[in-house]
Symmetry: C2
């Protein structure tokens, strides 16, 4: 018997037959939820991330209020640059700023690669607390950024439309880029193992910016590191890879041994399945902007999406994070539409 009251997510990731697809939403914890917005007025972003009680409370909000089939720990991919010793500034409503951008071998040598689990114990403490509160109701997903995306922020120093500076670093100083990517990979593996030890039942690796790379460059700067992470973790927890925009990588991801792959809405369900093959669970791919449609239209679009993907080896989700101004009722309509799908 499963250790979870509702284990649809884990069943789908294992490729077992389900009565309906599981559903959760990227960035479901935070942003659009009134209770979160209240907390945001009291505590700054990294206080919320670094205080296990707050992170736990935020993680649980959508479980009760929206009825998702999985929780995902409230945290941020930029805790890894912080653990490596860099300052990360985050002003509310603006993107992150990393003032000490990585330019040289010396910058890379200076990064702290020891005691990662201890340095990020606030995340594992939040996971333990959340798992205890969930009390077996649903699984909790842990996560990290993929090395290429973390490199993007560490080199660019801030968000960007196209991360040209980060890509220039990769293309003109590939030896430095690989040294940096390997360090990020090593600490990320330690970090994700600690998340599983703390109770995370599945893991997602977000490569938010890999879609800026040509397929051949993805194979050099993104995939080898993502693959190392998947290979190191897959025997202890199912891993979902989400290289946003890198639809072209679906064939190699599909045969990599990862349990799941996230896709955005720019690829049809049929082509995604054709490229990824039958040995991986596909997660996605609702356009987050469509949660601003009337509830009736959301329901119809969700049902069409599930029909297109099929109920098996599929996790209903958005193709990117939920938008801050989505009405709570619309987020709930998305989840309800999956639950009521008769197919």
């Amino acid at each position: 018997m499963s250790q979870y009251h509702n284990d649809l997510l884990l069943k789908a990731l294992r490729g077992e037959e389900v009565s309906r697809p599981p559903v959760w939403m990227m960035r479901q914890a935070g942003r659009y939820l009134p209770d979160y917005i209240k907390l945001r007025e009291q505590y700054d972003f990294f206080t919320r991330v670094q205080t296990p009680e707050l992170a736990c409370e935020i993680t649980l909000q959508p479980v009760d209020q929206i009825g998702v089939d999985a929780a995902i720990i409230f945290s941020d991919i930029l805790v890894i640059p912080q653990a490596l010793g860099l300052t990360v500034l985050l002003e509310e409503g603006k993107g992150p700023i990393l003032p000490e951008t990585i330019k040289t071998q010396q910058d890379i040598d200076r990064l702290i690669v020891t005691d990662t689990a201890e340095r990020l114990s606030y995340v594992t403490d939040a996971i333990k607390l959340t798992v205890s509160h969930l009390n077996g109701a649903i699984p909790l997903i842990g996560f990290a950024g993929a090395p290429f995306t973390i490199l993007c922020y560490m080199v660019e120093g801030k968000g960007s439309k196209s991360f040209d500076k980060a890509k220039e670093f990769c293309f003109t100083q590939p030896a430095l880029a690989h040294a940096l990517l390997q360090k990020i990979t090593d600490v990320t593996i330690v970090y994700l193992k600690a998340q599983v030890a703390a109770g995370a039942a599945a893991l997602q690796v977000f490569d938010s910016w890999s879609g800026m790379l040509a397929p051949a460059d993805f194979d050099v700067f993104a995939w080898p590191y993502m693959k190392q992470i998947a290979d190191s973790l897959k025997d202890i927890a199912p891993v979902i890879l989400f290289p946003k925009g890198s639809w072209y990588a679906l064939p190699q991801i599909g045969s990599s041994g990862a349990a799941g792959v996230g896709i955005d809405w720019t690829i049809t369900p049929a082509l995604a399945r054709q490229l990824a093959g039958r040995n991986i669970t596909i997660q996605g791919n609702f356009d987050p902007v469509k949660l601003l449609m009337p509830v009736h239209d959301i329901r119809k679009a969700v049902h069409e999406m599930i029909t297109a993907f099929g109920k098996q080896r599929y996790i209903a989700n958005l193709g990117h994070g939920i938008l801050p101004h989505v009405p709570v009722a619309s987020a709930k309509a998305f989840v309800d539409a999956v639950k009521e799908y008769a197919g």
Copy 2:
């Protein structure tokens, strides 16, 4: 005999055999050229666009200095919102601002759809002047933004990473969106016909943001209008469609009667050709960031790109506009690498 000394571009667009592929670069006029930067210190952006002598001078700069096989008139896709009666502000180095965003039927009714050719006569004057200066050396490309991309700016009011507001407008007020898209389409067709009458030998339609749409939404909000434009122009000039990021639309574009299709670097040459078929010329798809590599690496990467695309039915170009900080010698190396390709 051709009316052009060098008609490689037109031959490639007609599917005729060429000794080597033609080459030009998106945004080749402006940005990175020292002579342009000098002009920028004297005249603001729309003065440069609206003064035929300046637009002509800027258009010719890369012809002499970089040696491209085609010129493209120096202008901006936002001249269409201006012709429709909207204010467009452009601060140097920042994105455009359109203070009167489109929200209602009244906003759409207020748009000026008459006298488009007269209202944009500064562009056609610049084309005439440039064609006269080129004196048959190489063809001049005219261009416009595709209706969906123009809608993005008119509704969002500024640049954006994901144009959520513009997409929300389409998804929640489709009747208004279609009314707006049709008005943009109608004036764009008039505008492009005037460009051909003034001497433009080929046309490119830039759908810079269509890649934000799911394939099904592209078919509703982008493609029908792009197709109207292609259908209305294709008998008087070859049309290159560039729906950036919409690789999924290659099959329908390939059989649309458009002469060419632009692609970015996130799709391999082999797959692009497979999806687009053999009845269209493919243009692209060098990652602009790679022009920051050493010249030797640029040359190697360009040769690999041509080998992958093949010499026929192919136009060597970037997959997006040239970056402002590219050394002139590197831009020239890109062009030279195409010219020296022996394959």
